[in-house]
Symmetry: C2
Subunit: 204 residues, 2 copies
């Protein structure tokens, strides 16, 4: 028996349920919220959803998500082009931007090398970083690449791979520090982090 076309409310509930962390109860609450609120809220969300998929692509320099050819950071003349911070995802780039402490440019890999999951260097945006390194020179030459992938197994593997790949090209490769988070209690730090923090102690 073919089911009848789902009614619009059930359809909306099911559409919300596709989102991460949204179960039936939340999806129903969101659907009735939309139903009870002004048309504007649902129209805005609907437009933004279509728009983002149509207009957003990768920056031709750094692979950041953007609706232009080059992202706002690469377009910004005040950014230090000799410095490139390599991150796994656009979200990580945004997190670093929020600190307000970084004035260089970025490169977004859109993934990490993961031998266990069968993800190799060609499956993420490594090639684009090499091309960029080879293309730039003179005043715009890249002097340092900061590998800011997470200190996870895949993040470390990716960092190691990039170090071996980039150092022969005459670029300084650095890694973000890992250790005890600021403001957290030593007592509750996991032992791997604590061991790392001890190992990477520095002169005061």
């Amino acid at each position: 028996m073919k089911a009848a076309q789902k009614d619009p409310i059930t359809r909306l509930v099911n559409a919300f349920r596709q989102l991460p962390g949204v179960g039936e109860r939340t999806a129903t609450r969101l659907a009735f919220f939309v139903l009870n609120e002004s048309d504007e809220i649902s129209r805005e969300l609907a437009d933004a959803l279509v728009d983002v998929k149509e207009k957003v692509g990768l920056c031709e320099d750094c692979c950041n998500l953007t609706d232009r050819d080059r992202c706002a950071i690469c377009e910004d003349a005040r950014r230090d082009r000799s410095l490139v911070c390599v991150v796994e995802r656009t979200q990580d780039l945004r997190a670093i931007e929020r600190t307000g402490d970084y004035g260089g440019t970025y490169h977004v890999l859109h993934g990490l090398i993961s031998p266990l999951d069968g993800v190799g260097p060609d499956d993420i945006y490594v090639r684009q970083l090499i091309t960029r390194l080879q293309k730039t020179g003179g005043e715009e030459a890249i002097e340092e690449v900061i590998v800011a992938t997470s200190p996870s197994v895949d993040g470390e593997a990716t960092a190691l791979y990039l170090q071996r790949l980039l150092e022969p090209l005459g670029v300084r490769v650095t890694r973000i520090a890992s250790g005890i988070p600021i403001g957290s209690d030593l007592e509750y730090a996991d032992k791997v982090t604590l061991a790392r923090a001890l190992e990477q102690r520095r002169q005061m």
Copy 2:
């Protein structure tokens, strides 16, 4: 200074933030989820959002939300039309339907009488219930109205109002029971609920 047109990602994050219980962090997570997933998910949600606002209106009999003239429950010939359960919102109707225990019809008020908030009987769908009572007769005559509003101040006020309004029309008006929830511990019941449960004790 007029701000430049927001980029599509920020626009989507802001649109998600309009939803209840969605803060900046969740909105960002949802936006990047949509960006990374197939077009289908965002397209489906966008379509459902537009659809629901365009197609869903009130059932001409019971004021339930529906995309037809009459809702599926009012259209169902097997439902007992002599019995009308009055609820505050469509969500409450759905909760009762989920029990699978109720074979009558409904009336959705879309609100409660709330003197403190300045909501009177004319601000909710009471008139439609009266019209329906007066219109129906013979085999379809309404014999009992179950007031299933919440046992809150406004819910009780609305129930009392409906009782005074409907009883003179020759309809039996009943109220859902309130008391200790099934499976919960007497020890932890709030004292108002416990007092009510004692007061409304019944012969075994």
